[in-house]
């Protein structure tokens, strides 16, 4: 059975298929659940197929991840409207987290390294979305600061400060304060 494959679908396949894992990780990181992540990636693929003519070369991964990110936001806004924080609210969110947490406790690096999947997922889920996103892009997808800035359309300085805050918040969530220790 011979099939004619139209060129845009061929392009779609070469651009999108190699980066499915990356997109899935981003979706998992942003949305939490596996079912949500699958829906998001499917939606992102439909969008990518529709918009494949807009792909102008360059990093296929960054292009597809940008689409996946948008699909994730649409999905989340539909599913739990109150939980989606826009990037501009992140400073506020940061202050809120800041107020909630005391000064950083000392923690054994080993304890952090041994955190299991469920603990990590919960800690990640507890981050305000802009911080969760930065962690997922950096650690799950190994993107450079420049690529993250392009995908999230934020200045590199903001990427760096968010990453620092996000990691500090994660460390606090993962490493419980030792007993009997008082904040300085």
């Amino acid at each position: 059975m011979a099939r004619l494959i139209d060129p845009s679908r061929q392009l779609f396949a070469s651009v999108v298929l190699p980066h499915l894992d990356s997109a899935y990780r981003l979706a998992r990181g942003l949305a939490g659940g596996a079912a949500d992540a699958e829906d998001i990636v499917q939606d992102a693929c439909l969008r990518a197929l529709k918009g494949i003519d807009g792909y102008a070369g360059g990093s296929a991964r960054a292009w597809f991840l940008t689409i996946t990110r948008n699909a994730a936001f649409t999905h989340l806004a539909r599913k739990r409207p109150s939980s989606v924080l826009l990037a501009s609210n992140s400073e506020e969110a940061e202050l809120a987290m800041e107020a909630a947490a005391d000064d950083a406790p000392d923690a054994e690096a080993g304890l952090i390294a041994q955190a299991d999947a469920a603990t990590l997922d919960a800690a990640l889920d507890g981050l305000p979305p802009p911080f969760r996103e930065i962690i997922v892009l950096r650690e799950y997808n190994d993107l450079s600061y420049r690529e993250i800035a392009d995908i999230t359309k934020t200045p590199i300085g903001t990427v760096m400060s968010r990453l620092a805050r996000a990691r500090a918040l994660l460390l606090r969530a993962l490493a419980p304060e030792p007993l009997g220790r008082t904040a300085p």
Binding site: S8, Q10, A13, L17, Y24, V41, A113, E139, S161
Partner: protein
Amino acid sequence: MNTGGFDDQLLQAALDGELDARGTLDFERARAANPALAAEYERLAALRGALRNRAENLRAPESLREKIAAMAMAENESAPAVPLSPPRSNVLGFGARPRMVLAASLLCAAALGGVATSVISRQATRQGPDRIAMLLVDDHRRALLAASPIDVESSDRHTVKPWFDARLALSPNVVDLSAKGVTLVGGRAEVVDGAPAPAMVYREREHLISVTALPAARFDALASTDSVNGYNAIAWRDGAFAYWAVSDLPRADLETFVADFKTAEAAGEASR
């Protein structure tokens, strides 16, 4: 976060490999002198390790991959898009799914380049030394196409030989042919038919020559010559290795090279 006074964002950048050489140097000095900074770095590195382990286990499920591959295979834009959540088997039937996936992977292969596909089809048909020559010519060509044709760059055989030793636990003869106007460029590690194989790379004028040493026990190559796609390949046997020289040099020149190689090899054995 206690960094002992070190800039927090620079610490992140150090962890993420985003510092330039100067910044890295400054950071390494600060870390050596500042235990609080070193401890914080350890914590951050542990966090990174945990997150990356987690990410390793997050892969698009096969069912999702199949759906997307099917999406790419639909015949035209007006065809109904793949239903968002098709039941796993009965809509398309058991037979259809693997075929579509196969077609999708062929599509990817085609997108990656016709060279690879033609190689695969020829691999299936050629046998024996013929087949080895072809594999090695392909390795040679791939090395020429790669960013660098070598993994270790050195004109010193006393660097290249130990590198093979350490890397592959194989120690072929690496000879010095500079007297013949042939320079050693370096070496690379190949995998030929599933066996790791050291390849030495020489340069004669503007031509690169790959000399691959295969374990003679597995590749019982008699002295032979072959030509594949305009590349010449010459095989000979010496001790535990079957050597193959591959180059785009004219055959006569490659034969001279091989003769020089054997002479140098014999001289090397004698002087040891």
